[in-house]
Amino acid sequence: MRMHLSHLRLRDFRNYARLDVDFAPGFHLLLGDNAQGKTNVLEAIYLLATLRSFRGVGSAQMVRHGQKGCFAGGTLVGQGDHEVKMYWSARERSLSLDGRPVRKLTDYLGVLRTVVFCTEDLQLIKGTARSRRRFLDLLLSQTHRAYLPLLQRYAQTLRSRNAMLKRPVPDPLALEGFSRELISAGEEIIRLRHELVPKLSPLARLAYRRVSNEAEELRIEYAPSVKRDFAVELAQSHVRERAYRSTLIGPHRDELQLLLNDRSAAQFGSEGQKRTLAIALKMTQAEYLTGIHGGPPVLLIDDIMGELDVKRRSAFLPLLERIHQSRGQVFMTATEENWPQELGRDVQRWVVDKGVLRKAI
């Protein structure tokens, strides 16, 4: 199922006092000098899709300087039209879908699916295991309705159990009660991650081969914290977890291994390989979501084209071509000098200048 954002409306969002703009399906190039507000448009679209900023900042920073709150809204065209409105201020926040307040996050997420490519993606390789778990979690919550509530339940159980382990003498029976909950939610998370990674691995290998200049083989492997039996291993870790006063075994300690020619990319990869790998992983995400949902997600490509050589850029072409054919949507930011001219023909160009967006002639 294809989807696109047909209208975006911003009020006091970052450097946009007001913005009302219609977007057709297809390829949109946002051009402008630095600090004019190109990325802010991408951030707003990502926010509508995920309720988060991909810049990893709190909502307070999205409010235009000197204003109390910000508004972001849009019309999404997919399986029918949807109207999204969101308002954020320090005192109140609201989110509505088709005029009705959203009560459950799971009812909302998935209305707009996006994949963002940005410089922060490098954290997928250089960052801690947490960023790679988040990559898996994002994919699973975008494809399994039950995953997000499951993850939330696991996180809550973990917090409770850790609080209990911090007591001088935890009640063993009460601790066992929380251990059982941890195991039952945890096993389900492990199972879903186990199912997911082998499906991603071939897509990732292909994507990497397309983007890379060299011939290394990429393999991604799920390295769960639990080797065989969560219950047994949790029990075995008891003395250690009492010493550390924290739960040491479970999916919150999982790792996603990224291997180039069977060696850890984080440890042995070059800067260029890491960059290539980050892009390949995001392409994998886009390809996987396209396969599951029968239509591509909206791609948000933030200023990464300038850093890439022609070979790596051209790796994007098949993906972009397919999105074009299936009437999906891509938003890409670039400066006037470095936008990829080879994408020329069906590009809709926009100029961003001091918080104003207008069609380029």
Partner: protein, 200 residues
Amino acid sequence: MAALPEPVASLIGALSKLPGIGPRSAERIALHLVQAETGAVKQLAQILVTARDRVQLCAVCGALTEKSPCAVCSDPRRDASLVCIVERPVDIISIEKSGTFRGKYHVLRGKISPLNGIEPEDLRIAELEKRLAQEPIKEIVIALGTDVEGDATSFYLAKRLARGELKITRIAHGLPAGTGLEFADELTLSRALEGRREMP
């Protein structure tokens, strides 16, 4: 800007401590009260004091009552061999409304909640154990919520209360009555499947 008179400010402070009343509502109620007819306010104050004076917790089950033991505990027609464990006094009212439970109750006054510092010893479990020793209880029905803490507490109770011939059950969770499968979320459905029953 002129500030509110001190008594109004302290009234707002006191009201905003009540559950469900934020600073805005507290201000509205306070401003209403200080401008209302004196008689009506005195009457309200009297009603508050009376209600607090007359309502107490049943010494046996922990329900809200005027007279301890409460009406349910002292009703000879209720099945004394069956006791239902609930988290809060108000849960009794929900179950009573269904009109299908003929046993007695026991209020825990909370659930095990490490994040809020609530441990088993803060709950009315010792009182329940005393009842098990004194009353002819044959079955305990655990009727706690199905959130993490509710589930962990249910497990704890089942283990701690287990003794001799005592039967311990937990109320079923699954589909809401009278709806189709399409309205159930995945977690509810999978639990409903786990708790399936054989048909005659």
